[in-house]
């Protein structure tokens, strides 16, 4: 692998944190100064062997609550399939870190590790907590500038809060993402405790502003190129029974709006990365179908 193009503008500069040969390619972690989040951010990038000779499509993976860039790359077992299909996988962190905001580390489902992929409008979060812009704009630019990517071929997937992130990215940007899938996504955050806590904190009490980040609401008004959404959900997921995920609400809207979804309720599986590991190949294949079309 060539060394990253460190001679780009300084704000685009990347620092390699780690690099490990993996599935014939490389699993790397980089650090950079984010303009959007105004802090140092780490992200993981898997470069398949094909990236040594040509441009590859990119799948963005959005992790769930409490995760860093590490969880997915160490637990999901995505690299073999990514190598097979020639897909670069970019897995960013889940929130700004070390911004010194009061209360940012107080709870596991708000603040650090819980950015919810929104652009906060409320103090004290609005300066740093701009994960939506980070993952849809800054990070893709950075990736395209530093890696052999095909900027027109990107897709998005994620788990839990990241599944919510993936769905809203696709629904808010018709045509931008060639494919979308999710594992146990928070489908209707306005209606669940996690979402209500996060949205009221980041977006304020006006619920109408929440709608812009709610997959179920966004699906109801979606208009754009045909989507093909693959969702896997563990039937024994404690957060499903705790009504944090609410997939039925999304399915009802998609059925009504004729947005194609295949939703698979996997018996016996919980909310963990063991569940993700079990079905990640199906998802990468799903992305490859559209990314390599």
């Amino acid at each position: 692998m060539r060394t990253p193009h460190l001679f780009y503008r300084s704000k685009m500069a990347l620092t390699q944190v780690s690099s490990n040969k993996c599935a014939d390619g490389f699993q790397k972690v980089f650090e950079h100064d984010s303009t959007e989040l105004k802090c140092k951010m780490k992200f993981a990038v898997y470069l398949p062997p094909k990236a040594e000779t040509g441009k590859c499509p990119v799948m963005y993976w959005l992790s769930g609550l409490t995760c860093t860039e590490q969880n997915f790359i160490t637990k999901a077992g995505s690299q073999l399939a990514a190598a097979e299909h020639g897909i670069i996988i970019v897995a960013p962190d889940t929130s700004p870190r070390g911004c010194g905001i009061e209360g940012e580390d107080e709870s596991w489902d708000f603040g650090t590790g819980a950015g919810f992929y929104v652009n906060a409008t409320q103090d004290p979060w609005k300066t740093n907590y701009r994960m939506y812009s980070y993952i849809t704009e800054e990070l893709p630019k950075l990736i395209n500038a530093n890696f052999p990517t095909d900027p027109d071929r990107i897709s998005v997937s994620g788990h839990s809060m990241g599944g919510h992130g993936a769905l809203i990215c696709a629904l808010k940007n018709p045509g931008k993402y060639k494919a979308v899938s999710a594992f146990a996504p928070i489908c209707n955050p306005m209606q669940c405790p996690w979402g209500q806590k996060a949205f009221s904190g980041y977006l304020g009490s006006d619920r109408s502003t929440w709608e812009a980040y709610d997959a179920t609401v966004l699906a109801a008004s979606y208009s754009g190129p045909q989507l093909d959404i693959l969702i896997d959900q563990g039937r024994d997921d404690q957060f499903l029974s705790a009504s944090q995920l609410l997939p039925d609400n999304l399915i009802a809207v998609c059925s009504e709006k004729k947005i194609p979804v295949v939703f698979r309720l996997q018996p016996g599986y919980d909310h963990s990365y063991f569940f993700i590991y079990s079905f990640i190949n199906d998802h990468i294949k799903h992305h490859a179908k559209y990314l390599n079309a």
Partner: protein, 523 residues
């Protein structure tokens, strides 16, 4: 000018040389013919002389014999006369003696001696017994010197390849020598295992040494023999030869042919009532402009009425069949056009549940509203008895297959694959011999199941597919379902199919399904 003259002269010389050569040839032929004729005559005269000398010897020997017999007879008569004379003299002496005696009564007794009389007629006839000389055979021999001999038996040739048709035979024969023949008579009759009285011998009179016999039965064996006749007489019959007419062309069973991108399975009917030796399948590729290319391939010695043919994907072929026996190949059957764009199959009508009717074109199946009473249902032995279903006749090739099914989202259906012997009294997907996608209408929603052994994963599909793609990959061991309109993958079964599978289609409530065939599989 000189050159021209020389050339002309040279030409003339060549011409004359040619003519001289020709004359020489004629001379030789004439000489040869006369030589042969001479030899022939000499042979005949020798025959006549031999016959005459034989006759002379026979007659001379006869006369000698007669002379001997006559002399012997006369001699015996002479001896007898001498003896009679001696006896008479003795008798006279005895009589004189008695006469001189005293007793005259004794003399009276002597009179009785004198009663014996001597036969004085000749014991042999005076004439020679001259038998009539029968010279008719000599006459025939003499006559035959001037007439041609009757021909010898002609030699009938064995059947030549490609000389027969469905209803005719071309028969050839020849002669050993240069007999002169006025005409031939060809006799023929069909040969049957069981000799039937009404198959009488037919006779044809021909001038040539060949004959085309017509109005025959196809794929039948005939016994033929030939005689040659000239003014002198008729030859003995030739040996009997066996000829065979070619079969009628087979009939391709269009509804029972099936194909995929790599192969086609062609099935046909013999077209003949009696057995056929083998079949030849001929295929040629149809170019994109519609013209049929030259014959690209033929598969010979196919023993049964079906043939699996390896083909190239994405082409178009026309395929025909010929029936072959020792007489040769039949005419081509009607052709079948096979496109290797996708998988193509028909429904196996005999597997259809009695409540399932199939459209004229064979690709749409209906489950009608009206309930048939069980008693009115005629069950084929191979038909589904509970699940209103039917199987498709998929080509037995372990490659990739793809077909599409058009459904109505108000119809409850089951589509997928099953082993050929899947239980007919069971529902599709309820056993371990079938795999299917099932659509169920619940009061609140459309439910989709992907059933095998009665179990389905729990999944939701938000857009009801109305055209379902079914992709079977034997090598990968997968059976996948797609929403064709959305190119959406719905489900994949993973199973290494041990046996060949057939597409299966079932309706759980009144409605219709249409199979779309010959479609290229999506990537």
């Amino acid at each position: 000018f000189g050159v021209r003259t020389r050339n002309r002269l040279q030409g003339k010389v060549a011409e004359m040389e040619n003519f001289a050569g020709h004359l020489e040839e004629i001379f030789l032929t004439v000489e040869e013919n006369f030589g042969r004729r001479e030899q022939h005559l000499e042979q005949h005269y020798n025959d006549v002389l031999q016959t005459l000398s034989q006759r002379y010897e026979d007659r001379a020997a006869g006369l000698e014999e007669e002379k001997k017999n006559k002399l012997e007879a006369l001699y015996r008569q002479l001896l007898a006369c001498g003896q009679a004379l001696d006896a008479s003299k003795e008798l006279i002496e005895t009589a004189q003696e008695i006469y001189r005696s005293q007793d005259k009564r004794l003399f009276l007794k002597v009179r009785e001696f004198a009663k014996e009389e001597t036969d004085l007629t000749l014991s042999t006839p005076l004439e020679f017994n001259t038998p009539l000389a029968d010279l008719s055979d000599v006459k025939t021999l003499m006559d035959s010197i001037n007439v041609v001999p009757a021909p010898s038996a002609p030699v009938i040739n064995p059947q030549m390849p490609n000389s027969a048709t469905q209803t005719s035979l071309r028969v050839c024969w020849s002669l050993f020598s240069d007999d002169s023949v006025e005409y031939y008579e060809l006799y023929y009759r069909p040969v049957h295992d069981k000799v039937c009285a009404w198959f009488t011998v037919t006779k044809v009179k021909v001038k040539e040494t060949h004959c085309k016999v017509t109005d025959l039965l196809p794929n039948a064996q005939y016994e033929l023999w030939v005689t040659a006749t000239n003014t002198t007489g008729i030859s003995p019959a030739s040996e009997k030869a066996l000829y065979m007419t070619v079969p009628s062309p087979p009939v391709i069973k269009q509804r029972e042919c099936t194909s995929c991108p790599e192969a086609a399975l062609i099935r046909w009917e013999s077209g003949n009532t009696n057995p056929i030796d083998s079949y030849t399948v001929e295929l040629s590729e149809v170019e994109t402009d519609g013209t049929e290319s030259h014959l690209t391939e033929s598969i010979v010695a196919v023993p049964t009425c079906q043939c699996l043919i390896q083909l190239q994907p994405g082409r178009c072929y026309v395929i025909s069949v010929r029936a072959v026996n020792v007489g040769g190949p039949s005419n081509r059957s009607e052709v079948i056009t096979v496109s290797t764009t996708g998988t193509f199959f028909h429904l196996l009508g005999e597997t259809a549940h009695p409540c399932l009717s199939i459209s004229e074109d064979g690709f749409t199946m209906f489950y009608g509203d009206e309930e048939l009473p069980i008693s009115a249902m005629a069950f084929d032995a191979n038909a589904f008895t509970r699940c209103v279903a039917v199987l498709g006749d998929l080509i037995p090739v372990r490659g990739k297959h793809y077909w599409e099914v058009e459904v109505d989202d108000g119809t409850e259906f089951r589509i997928g694959v099953s082993y050929e012997d899947t239980e007919r009294s069971s529902y599709l997907g309820a056993n371990n011999t079938s795999w299917c996608m099932r659509h169920i209408l619940t009061p609140t929603r459309h439910k989709y199941e992907f059933l095998h052994k009665g179990w389905s994963p729990d999944l939701r599909i938000t857009v009801n597919p109305v055209r379902i793609g079914v992709a079977l990959d034997y090598d990968k061991g997968t059976l996948s379902f797609f929403n064709v309109d959305l190119k959406q993958h719905l489900h994949t079964f993973h199973c290494h199919f041990q046996n060949y599978v057939h597409p299966c289609f079932g309706l759980d409530n009144p409605g219709a399904l249409t199979v779309h065939n010959g479609i290229a599989a999506p990537e």
